[in-house]
């Protein structure tokens, strides 16, 4: 049961990573990051059954931080969009060599 949950969490996490690596749309990127966070949450919850209740406590922390992060992140995305009418990250590469 725990093993199955962990495998599912790993799959979800990998999908998130893959999304971050290959997609360029800022919104999609956000979704992928949320996916990774929730994959980790799933792993915490699954493991808390075997190890102890602390894992579930951690999940609440992660959710709270993720909510805050989503709020800030979406605000940034909106201001980016207002600035240049697009959220394609290909156009935002000022911080390079």
């Amino acid at each position: 049961m725990v093993t199955n949950s962990l495998v599912l969490a790993a799959i979800l996490f990998s999908i998130g990573v893959l999304g971050v690596v290959v997609r360029r749309n800022a919104i999609i990127l956000f979704l992928c990051i949320e996916l990774m966070l929730n994959a980790v949450n799933l792993a915490f919850v699954a493991l808390s059954r075997a190890v102890g209740i602390e894992g579930q406590v951690f999940v609440f922390f992660v959710m709270a931080v993720a909510a805050a992060e989503a709020a800030v992140g979406l605000a940034i995305v909106i201001s980016i969009f207002r600035h240049s009418e697009t959220v394609d990250l290909k156009n935002f590469n000022l911080l390079r060599w």
């Binding site: 990573v17 971050v20 690596v21 290959v22 997609r23 990250l89 935002f92 590469n93 000022l94 911080l95």
Partner: protein
């Protein structure tokens, strides 16, 4: 006989430094103000001379066997090397101080007239005062390093004053030449100091000369090396073969500078140094014969060049080199008092000759200046017949000429004759043959001296005037501020030799009216006695007769007769020649051409030493410095830049790339943990 305490010893040295400070500030703040340098420049020197004279008079009445050393502060306390800033007053440094300040005062006064119209007036006196300060440090310092400070200081002032009119390339080059050639000699001085220190553990004169006879074997390798390195230093400063080449070029400076620095005082520093280190040289017979031999060769060689020069200052420059050679014969054979004696008389008559030539050049320059003629005011072919226009200069310069030619009873007769005689008398021991040759060369050089000096006088003052009709009217005697120093020096050139009349001459019938007084010998006896003892213990007794027979008196009369005869012959030969102004004169041919071009020594040095050094430096610059060293340093720069470029390509600015890198990194870490 009373106890002797030096009186204001430090003030003698410090006064010229004060003068330097005052004149230097004037040169910076108000260069057009001429009153301050006119007063301060000569006054500090005169005051120093008066103090020195006071000390001298008090010293005369005292029995002084040991040098008086006054230590002011500890200058260089490094481990076992303890050097104090200390002055040493003894008979030798007293005499040198009198010469430096006395002749220096006269030349400062002369300079007031000579440099009157020069825009660098204050700067000139600042340099001149600074020179005297360093010269006094040189002669009064109580240790080799302190002498070296003065040694370098006078070199600096010499450089500054040779290139005084630095706006002309030629003058600046002459200054550099003097400086660079002297570096070679200074290298020898430094090595000698290190050798002395590593063998004796001290550099103070008193301790070195006390310890040397016990520490070094007579004729040993170390002492020979020390003295030869010291002499290398002397050949640089005192313009001996092979390092004499800078002195003739040094005539680019103002003429009073040539008189003070490049004739009377600085160039005799090497002679002073050998006399000061007499104990060391007496322990090294090979070095002694080298010193005397180089001196003799220089005396002859420079005299030959002097025969064919047309520039009045060049004649005097080669004459100075030649006379310095005589001094080295004197100190080289071990007759230190004789060398110092000639140093003193030479200071009188050569300063007089240079100042006289300065007066002539001054008059010629003014005459040409009036009519805007661009002839060379120093070329003797443009002169002739100046006796009518410049009687004081004419007579005083003839006195100096008779003195340098060795005519009795002028100063040079006694000093030069003594050196020649001492070379003959010291022709004993293992190097007797060499000393005999040195004696013969010295005699021959004396003949040439009489000839070229007479030639110079005849070309300048006798015969028809060749200056030009319009210019002739503007020729006139120099003002009193310039001819009075000439007159004083002329008196000294007559009587200066009387302080040391050998007994052998005083016993002669007609020539013996000057009272016998080997005063200078006795005066310097406390300095020279240690060296004399060493030589007496290791060499056979001095010869009674010259190599060709005859004693001291015989050769004194002979050389007197030769000098008079040569002057008369030269007067006839040169007087009968028809000289034409320089612009109309043909180029010299044959031997005269060779001598006029100074045996092409400068060209040879240029080809053998200067060019190879310059070319090697260029090669080192191009290949080693620019190629290897710069290449390595720049290579590191290029490599890090290239590496940075490669690394910077990772910074794409795209989030995806970073995320990919992080993911790969995590995978690798996981791989490490798992397997």
């Amino acid at each position: 006989m009373h106890h002797f305490e030096p009186f204001l010893l430090g003030a003698i040295v410090l006064l010229p430094l004060v003068g330097f400070a005052v004149n230097g500030l004037t040169a910076f703040l108000a260069p057009e103000r001429k009153t301050i340098p006119t007063v301060v420049g000569p006054a500090v020197l005169a005051l120093a001379f008066v103090i020195a004279l006071t000390n001298f008079v008090r010293m005369l009445g005292a029995e002084l066997h040991e040098p008086i050393v006054r230590s002011y502060w500890s200058w260089m306390p490094v481990g076992s090397l303890q050097i104090d800033a200390a002055l040493q007053l003894d008979q030798l440094s007293m005499l040198m101080t009198l010469i430096v300040t006395g002749v220096g005062t006269l030349i400062h006064i002369f300079s007031v007239g000579y440099m009157k119209a020069d825009p660098g007036y204050a700067r000139y006196f600042a340099y001149l005062n600074l020179f005297v300060f360093f010269m006094l440090v040189l002669v009064l310092g109580a240790s080799f390093p302190l002498m070296f400070v003065g040694w370098e200081g006078v070199g600096l002032c010499s450089y500054l004053l040779i290139g005084f009119w630095y706006k002309e390339r030629k003058n600046a080059d002459a200054g550099k030449k003097a400086f660079i050639v002297n570096r070679i000699g200074d290298f020898g001085f430094i090595v000698a100091m290190m050798l002395i220190f590593s063998n004796l553990g001290t550099l103070d004169y008193v301790e070195v000369f006390d310890a040397a006879p016990a520490a070094f074997a007579y004729g040993g390798g170390v002492i020979t090396a020390i003295t030869l390195f010291l002499f290398l230093g002397a050949t640089g400063k005192s313009a001996q073969i092979p390092l004499y080449v800078w002195l003739p070029d040094a005539m680019a400076g103002p003429t009073p500078v040539s008189a003070l620095i490049h004739a009377a005082t600085m160039v005799t520093a090497g002679v002073y140094m050998v006399a000061r280190a007499g104990v060391l040289f007496a322990l090294a017979p090979v070095s002694q014969v080298v010193v005397a031999g180089v001196g003799a060769l220089t005396a002859l060689f420079a005299a030959t060049i002097g025969l064919a020069q047309y520039d009045i200052k060049k004649v005097l420059a080669y004459s100075t080199v030649s006379q310095l050679g005589y001094m080295f014969i004197g100190v080289g054979v071990g007759a230190f008092a004789a060398g110092v004696f000639h140093l003193m008389t030479h200071a009188f008559f050569k300063a007089l000759l240079f100042l006289g030539s300065g007066a002539v050049i001054h008059a010629m320059h003014e005459a040409f200046h009036h009519t805007h003629k661009d002839w060379d005011p120093q070329d003797m072919r443009n002169m002739g017949g100046l006796r009518k226009y410049m009687p004081v200069t004419f007579w005083t310069m003839w006195i100096a000429t008779l003195a340098i030619a060795g005519v009795w009873p002028f100063a040079g007769f006694f000093s030069k004759d003594e050196i020649i005689w001492q070379a003959a008398a010291h022709a004993v021991g293992p190097f007797a043959g060499w000393y005999k040759a040195i004696w013969a060369i010295a005699l021959l050089a004396a003949v040439l001296t009489a000839f070229y000096m007479t030639r110079m006088m005849v070309m300048t003052f006798h015969g028809e005037n060749r200056t030009g009709a319009a210019e002739r009217e503007h020729l006139h005697e120099v003002p009193a501020v310039m001819w009075v120093p000439l007159a004083v020096l002329a008196v000294l050139s007559v009587v200066g030799g009387w302080v040391n009349v050998p007994h052998a001459i005083a016993d002669l019938p007609v020539l013996g009216w000057i009272p016998t007084s080997e005063w200078l010998h006795e005066w310097l006896h406390p300095i020279t006695e240690h060296a004399d003892e060493i030589m007496a213990a290791n060499l056979p007794a001095l010869a009674e007769a010259a190599p060709l027979g005859g004693g001291e008196a015989f050769w004194a009369i002979t050389s007197f007769a030769i000098a008079v005869a040569v002057i008369a012959i030269a007067f006839r030969i040169v007087g009968s020649r028809q000289y034409r102004p320089a612009v109309e004169s043909p180029e010299p041919v044959g031997l005269a051409r060779l001598l006029y071009n100074k045996w092409y020594i400068d060209e040879i040095y240029d080809a053998v030493v200067v060019r190879p050094v310059v070319n090697a430096s260029k090669a080192l610059w191009r290949f080693v410095d620019q190629g290897i060293i710069d290449g390595t340093v720049n290579g590191f720069g290029y490599a890090s830049r290239a590496l940075g470029w490669v690394g910077s390509r990772l910074q794409t600015g795209q989030l995806n790339t970073y995320a990919f890198a992080v993911a790969i990194g995590v995978l690798i870490l996981l791989g490490f943990v798992a397997f």
